[in-house]
Amino acid sequence: MPIHKKQIIEKESAVVDGIELGPDWNRMFEQRVLTDYDTSGLDKVTSVEGAESMGWCYQCTQCIPVCPVNQAGGEYGPRKIFRQLQQGMDLFTDDDLWKCTTCMNCLRVCPKSVDMIKIMPAIREEAVMEADVPAELQEAFENTFEYGNPLGESQRKRADWIQNAGVEVPIMKDKKEADYLWFVECYPAYHGRGQETSQAMARILTKLNVDFGILGTEEKCSCDSQRLAGEVGLFEEFAEYNIATFDKYKFKKIMTTDPHALNAMKKKYPELGGDYDVEHYTTMLAPMMDQLDLKNDLNIKVTFHDPCYLGRHNGEYMAPRNIIDALPGVELIEMGRCKEQSYCCGGGGGGMWLDGFMSDHVNERLSENRVREAVETGADVLVVCCPYEISRFEDAVKSTGNEGKLLVKDIAELIDEAMA
């Protein structure tokens, strides 16, 4: 009999009018009937600036099949949140508040423009102010605040990676002026695999004779993911700092390694007085590929993962593909979910710092779901171009038992290999 355990009322033994009744004889059930539509939870959400559209949902359900968290077994999605809010759920204190990776796939399909990309940060901001935040996320916030990066690394070491780049990497403090200001961002500056990508990138830029410079120890986190995770104050403080730093130098464009930084600088920095010409490194490199003398035939099959914040959020799908096309001996096999429909690695919107929390809510990590799909294509290499992905997917390759079957490489690493 399908019945929820918590509905069962029974006593091990009960004596009624002198007759002993064991559990089978006294067992009763609680009803599973809805007796109220307490919409206060919904009203509370929609009264927050930026979260008004939460009330617009008309239950068409299109968001559910595209929600990566739902696909990973998370029983999640805007429609479900809306229905629970109509039932009195308090999103401000509910675990559901932290599941969204802000991948934007729901907004892409939503006919009523229910905008989780605005709703989630707005409500999370309130939770942050109440200090009601999962501990691991709080730690990332604190690291960022204290060290300028969520990894908790020393600010002094932010440019250490350049020592092993094999080429000279100019620093803006010395250079003052460049065509491109390269915003390296935290993971490419500190994380082992990120550093390798950065080093490859430096070699590519050098080979192309690009006039560029990095901020080095003057650079601080763009904080876009912290903002989407609710730390709006932190974001603004860091954005103001970065803008002030940018303004010390002369450059034509900003080039970012990280799509999240790209997103912040394109969409949020202008509101704070920092209006720059910003592009992602794939956008920058794609038209320059023919200037590179690519001698090495790589002889591999690859598949490509569109980063949410490059693709859906900022509309760039072709640049990485054009780069892959230009690489000798590389065959691209697309995954079923690609471009606009791309799946999410799970790192966005604070997900990067919520793996422990999420493990209680999903059947598999989002990165594992994605790696399985990549393996199915038969590709040798899963190509990425967002610094969150390389570490997430490499972990997932291991945890799904696909070690040796699939490598994860940044697109810059492949260019570098083809150049050598």
């Binding site: 019945i3 007759i19 002993e20 609680e30």
Partner: protein
């Protein structure tokens, strides 16, 4: 005890052909065209349904599964859910004039006819009722009210069991002075009932779900038939 599990790989050991065959059998029933027209998911049946109040049970899901001819899901429902129905037919209120309760009746009959494990399990503990009706012509009887079977019905069950003979005799209608049947039934009447069950294949159904019970009933009834001079009756 758990939530209604509609995942279908639970019964992947049963072939799709078998699931299709069972559904085809249900669909071939003469009543079928009047039990399901189409479901637009209004939920009226669920709100009227007593079983849905406690169980994760849904006449709407059953109507939907059947309307979509999702034989995999139908099998999953046949394996468990259909036995939660109270057969009160409150769901007959359906504005499309579907009868989820009747759909369930038919699916139950198919489960029994095919001796499905779920049917056997669902009917465990039910044999004595079938035994009673077949051998006596009434379905329950006063002597069934025994404390070991009905402790949850309280002290008066003890009292009834204790005073059964006298209390039955202290009933003014002459037909009610019985303890093994609900009322006095003529032998010929019981035999006619048995013949009906034989001629309509009900005895075969019983043998499919409870062979032991079948054997007992047949033993007893064949003897009575013979005594009553019915030895030349053929059951076709």
């Amino acid at each position: 005890m758990m939530a209604l599990d509609l995942s279908q790989n639970k019964y992947s050991d049963v072939s799709m052909e078998e699931k299709d065959r069972l559904f085809a059998e249900a669909k071939a029933d003469e009543r079928w065209e009047h039990v399901l027209y189409g479901c637009y998911e209004c939920g009226i049946c669920v709100a009227a349904c007593p079983s849905a109040r406690f169980y994760d049970f849904s006449p709407r899901v059953i109507a939907q599964a059947v309307a979509r001819e999702d034989t995999d899901l139908i099998y999953t429902l046949m394996a468990d859910s259909i036995w939660d129905c109270s057969q009160c037919f409150s769901c007959d209120r359906c504005p499309r004039k579907n009868s989820p309760g009747q759909i369930i009746t038919i699916l139950r009959e198919v489960s029994v006819k095919n001796g499905l494990k779920s049917a056997k399990e669902a009917l465990q503990g039910y044999g004595r009722i079938i035994y009673k009706i077949m051998l006596t012509g009434t379905q329950v009887s006063p002597d069934m009210l025994q404390p070991d079977a009905f402790p949850d019905w309280g002290t008066h069950v003890y009292e009834i069991a204790e005073n059964l003979d006298d209390w039955r005799k202290a009933l003014p209608p002459e037909t009610l002075h019985t303890t093994e049947t609900s009322w006095v039934i003529d032998d010929k009447t019981i035999i006619e009932l048995y013949l009906i069950w034989h001629m309509t294949g009900v005895m075969d159904l019983i043998s499919g779900v409870d062979e032991g019970l079948y054997d007992i009933i047949v033993d007893v009834m064949e003897e009575r038939l013979e005594e009553a001079g019915y030895d030349d009756v053929t059951f076709d």
